[in-house]
Symmetry: C2
Subunit: 267 residues, 2 copies
């Protein structure tokens, strides 16, 4: 079991930002990745549909013998995590808990802005997790549905992206946020434009790194770390339910290197 692969899934290829962080922290682990590109996005769909798709995603990974499942999708975590954790024997780890940890690592954080898909914002999962851990926080959560297609279009510094960011962020900035949580795996690619856009006083937080740290600590607790030495490089198998040039190109951008051979699969 210890040498079994880690399973990671997302609605698309944005979750490869989490894979990249896992590979940096746990280089010897093998990883099986599933991106449900045929049915993306999840962020605009209903809780029932997101849960149904998430269960199908996990069953695909379990059929490949994974020892742990990482839900590298904020919307799926927000709507399906408890239901997945209840149903399956293996540990299922989402991106919200580590995101919240990353926000609260700064003890002075008091006014938190969150941008996410409509589904994630509506779930109140981040708002709830933050409020449980620190009293007196002021939280502004805004759905930012255009940011995913803008990133997928590679319009990272386009006037349309600037216009969308003004609409989404100006009201938060007027309210004096000190932290902006990027609560969607697509958003890390916007960090350069966000750094230009936001005042220096606003801290940007994304959950990929802290998610990888949480996976490492859970595997350590459960004695599930691979026995292979850290000098070995684990394999990465990427499975997508739809495959196109665009997804291959996006995979390269999210992973910051060649994704290798990608397999198209049916669920």
């Amino acid at each position: 079991m210890r040498n079994a692969p880690l399973g990671v899934f997302d609605s698309g290829v944005g979750g490869l930002t989490v894979v990249r962080a896992l590979q940096q922290l746990l280089p010897a682990e093998d990883i099986v990745y599933l991106g449900d590109t045929a049915r993306l996005p999840y962020g605009s769909k209903s809780p029932e549909t997101i849960r149904q798709f998430s269960h199908e995603d996990v069953r695909f990974l379990l059929d490949r013998g994974v020892k742990t499942v990482v839900v590298a999708c904020n919307t799926a975590t927000a709507h399906a995590l408890p239901s997945l954790q209840e149903r399956y024997q293996v540990p299922v780890i989402g991106v919200i808990e580590p995101g919240v940890e990353a926000v609260l690592a700064d003890e002075g954080a008091q006014r938190i802005g969150i941008i996410a898909t409509r589904g994630t914002v509506r779930s109140h999962a981040y708002q709830h997790a933050l409020a449980l851990r620190r009293t007196g926080l002021i939280i502004h959560a805004t759905p930012a549905p255009l940011l995913v297609p803008l990133v997928e279009e590679d319009w990272l510094d386009h006037p349309a992206t600037h216009a969308a960011l003004h609409t989404y962020l100006d009201p938060m900035l007027d309210r004096g946020i000190d932290t902006l949580m990027l609560a969607c795996t697509h958003y890390p690619l916007l960090i350069p434009v966000l750094k230009k856009f936001l005042p220096d006083s606003v801290r940007l937080v994304d959950s990929a790194t802290t998610c990888a740290e949480l996976v490492k600590s859970r595997l350590t607790e459960l004695d599930l770390l691979t026995e292979k030495p850290d000098t070995e490089t684990g394999s990465l198998q990427i499975h997508l339910t739809d495959l196109s040039d665009q997804f291959e190109d996006l995979s390269r951008r999210f992973l910051s290197r060649s994704p290798g051979k990608i397999q198209r699969v049916s669920l």
Copy 2:
């Protein structure tokens, strides 16, 4: 058979613009509509996946006893129409042929701009159909993938939409197009902003009305028009594979009236 309903499908609710045109032209016909909202959009996905989804959509409609299938989705028409027409007994009518008819109704049309999803542009279906019917046309087809999410966000006159339109349309305008084909069922909602954006010399064409006219003439030829008098109002049943407040609201906007009770279904 003559009193059986018409079947109409789209990846989402944009196809309701075609339903609206059908109801105006053929008021007594019953209509069964399927929107595959759980898996939308189709426009960014691969030809194989679009064909697989389209066949599943048609089988759903055939199970409900429809006498004709209207493919009210440009991407599905572009990639799946011949395969659907081959497989099933009932007439299957797409939106591309009527769109092309509408463009060529103006005998002076020579420089045609087309905006559509990436999938529709890549299929070359419009370019091919136009080139077959009139020689010497100059055709500029541009994928405009941000326009669907902008319409869904109701940002019809937002600075981000203007910025996107500049990127998509300026190169066409520089080349002196005389006609702009809106080759996606979402785009009719952009007609007001497009009218402000384009010079008066550019004719805007969308296919919903001409598609309804083609359906009427095919039903007449095949003796399949309903026997009910035109003074009766046909029923409309809307089925969506995912249901949310946003889709209900969008349905109202595309249909220009209340969509009635919408049913969530699984394929």
